[in-house]
């Protein structure tokens, strides 16, 4: 398992770069983690559900304003790891978590730490878009309305801003009062994104946000992610290595351990470094059986 320091090393050593450049043009920059403290720091995180071990001793760091990708074969525990980051793992019966996750330096599992407040600052997009049975406008405002008082005009402005940010405004601007459930699935996913953006989170967790979508919607969401990361941090779980290569800056690779079956972090590296690494090739081979690299 590589330590963060050696990763920065490899990036500056100029490791072989395979394929198209990763994420954005900042692919060759040094790890921001060296300069500032990371936004999210996971240390020795282990998770078990009932008797089964799901994650084993995971450590990683998510820097500010980047896209951090989590890749790996099915069943490695990527979604579980994601759910730990906003403490939604607690909604799974029988889940036990050890280790620590620090957000802005504070341990999120501390008893005094309010998990509901945490989730307003770390938002989540699920694989299957979940729209509430109400109008588009109400969907966007659903979360933020509970958090603070919004005047009529503030609300309308926020709806427009969030829908713009989610690249959905043009398609729905004249039917904001229509039911959200008539939207196509790609539009619904962007609506979920708008809804999350309305609460202005610092981090957005995305659990395979495009696996249920067609190619066009996938493309739209991917360019959205690239735009979003200028202001926010994104942690993205994806099955699709091509997607990881296109949008992420940093990649963490989770694999089920041969001995315990629980997922362990094989490598956490800058995107370029990862896709040229030995680990990637090794896991890549097994991954190539799983799905295609598109």
């Amino acid at each position: 398992m590589s330590e963060k320091n050696t990763i920065a090393h490899r990036a500056t050593e100029g490791t072989e770069i395979n394929g198209p450049g990763c994420g954005s043009s900042s692919a060759t920059s040094v790890s921001p983690c060296e300069k500032n403290s990371p936004l999210l720091r996971v240390r020795n995180l282990s998770v078990s559900i009932g008797k089964a071990g799901i994650l084993d001793n995971i450590s990683l760091e998510v820097p500010h304003r980047t896209v951090f990708g989590l890749v790996g074969p099915s069943g490695a525990g990527k979604s579980t790891l994601l759910r730990c980051l906003n403490r939604m793992i607690e909604m799974t019966p029988g889940a036990r978590v050890t280790g620590s996750i620090h957000f802005h330096g504070q341990d999120i599992f501390a008893p005094t730490f309010d998990s509901d407040v945490l989730r307003t600052r770390i938002g989540m997009i699920f694989q299957q878009p979940v729209v509430f049975p109400t109008s588009i406008e109400r969907n966007v405002l659903f979360g933020i309305r509970r958090l603070r008082r919004l005047s009529r005009s503030e609300g309308t402005d926020l709806v427009e801003k969030s829908l713009h940010e989610a690249a959905l405004w043009d398609e729905v601007k004249d039917r904001l009062h229509a039911s959200a459930q008539v939207l196509s699935i790609g539009q619904q996913q962007r609506l979920c994104l708008a809804r999350t953006l309305a609460t202005d989170p610092e981090i957005i967790l995305m659990d395979e946000p495009t696996s249920a979508l067609d190619a066009r919607s996938t493309e739209a969401i991917e360019s959205l992610i690239l735009r979003l990361k200028t202001e926010r941090t994104i942690v993205l779980v994806t099955h699709n290595l091509g997607q990881a290569r296109r949008v992420t800056d940093w990649v963490g690779c989770l694999c089920p351990s041969v001995s315990t079956g629980a997922g362990e972090m094989l490598e956490s590296a800058c995107c370029d470094a990862f896709f040229g690494s030995e680990t990637c090739r090794r896991v890549f081979r097994t991954l190539a059986d799983d799905e295609t690299l598109s």
Binding site: N86, M88, M91, P93, D116, V117, L118, R119, T120, R121, G123, M124, F126, Q128, V130, F132, P133, F142, G143, R146, L147, C192, R195, T196, T199
Partner: protein, 310 residues
């Protein structure tokens, strides 16, 4: 004969099933028609006065059921007002907050209330509830512990398990993904229940209340024992509550009483009693029909049997 030609084979099972279903349907229909037919004399005699008349005095052939309808309404209203919030609260606890083990324990515990026969409820009402109500109402100088209020209180406990189970089912039928999405936005669990689960379960909850109402309307023995069985207790002012704490009469308590036997000899009296039974059926029928409609709305027109047999 061609190798695959159809030959006539007697379908015993189909025929006997059809026969069974037909006989059952015919019997029920006949029973209903018989009720209607037997009640005709009183409608000829009093017309709609059966429903609007305030007095019931059979020796002089005065048959007005309004006081009984009022009694039935009050008793059921008290029962619902008490039972629905309690049942909903218990259902919210079991469906939204409890893990599977305690949930089963709480549900089973509450369902035990449903396993107690109504006559035993009546017994408890007579020997306990009556005293408590009498003592509790002392400032109002009640006549006795038997009253519409007492019957309503007893009924509330009787219909509690039904409504709780159905509310629990309704809440559980709201998909977990909806709650997860709400939690992911930072809403508290209570907010997810209040703004996501409850609104989406509302038709089912309403159906539960209606079914509870139907049961309350039709309950006889327990109500009979604690309602006081006093005719003609229609208050002059519809908003006065004195009638609630005085003995009264409901449709079921009248039907379950000695008058049914007395009426046996007199055709008009008898027909009046049948008329009461029809009224009761009508009220219960409306409740059930409304609940049925709501349940179908909740299931969104899917046939549960066709779903189970994929």
């Amino acid at each position: 004969m061609a190798p695959c030609a159809k030959s006539f084979r007697p379908q015993w099972i189909l025929w006997s099933c059809t026969f069974g279903v037909a006989v059952t349907l015919a019997t029920l229909l006949a029973a209903l028609l018989m009720l209607v037919w037997q009640s005709l004399p009183v409608f000829a005699h009093s017309g709609v006065g059966l429903l609007t008349g305030t007095d019931w005095y059979y020796p002089e052939q005065i048959f007005g059921a309004l006081a009984m309808i009022y009694g039935t309404a009050v008793v059921s209203l008290v029962a619902l007002v008490l039972a629905v919030p309690l049942a909903l609260g218990a259902a919210v606890l079991s469906a939204e907050y409890l893990p599977p083990g305690p949930r089963l324990a709480v549900k089973s515990g509450i369902e035990m209330l449903a396993g107690v026969p109504s006559v035993v409820y009546g017994l408890i009402g007579v020997l306990f509830l009556r005293e408590w109500v009498y003592k509790g109402l002392e400032p109002f100088d009640p006549i006795s512990g038997d009253s519409l209020l007492t019957a309503g209180l007893l009924l509330a406990v009787m219909i509690l398990p039904t409504i709780t189970t159905l509310c629990d089912d309704a809440l559980r039928s709201v998909p977990a993904a909806q709650r997860a999405a709400a939690r992911g936005l930072g809403l508290t669990r209570a907010e997810a229940v209040l703004h996501i689960a409850l609104p989406q379960a509302a038709p089912g909850i309403l159906a539960a209340a209606l079914l509870g109402l139907g049961r309350a309307l039709g309950e006889t023995v327990a109500v009979f024992l604690v309602v006081g069985r006093q005719d003609g207790q229609l208050p002059g002012n519809p908003f006065s509550l004195t009638a609630w704490i005085s003995p009264g009469q409901t449709l079921t308590s009248k039907l379950g009483g000695p008058e049914t036997h007395i009426a046996f000899g007199d055709p008009l009296h008898w027909s009046a009693m049948i008329g009461l039974a029809l009224l009761l059926l009508l009220f219960v029928g409306v409740c059930l029909a409304a609940a049925w409609g709501l349940e179908r709305m909740m299931r969104r027109n899917t046939d549960p049997v066709a779903e189970a047999t994929p």
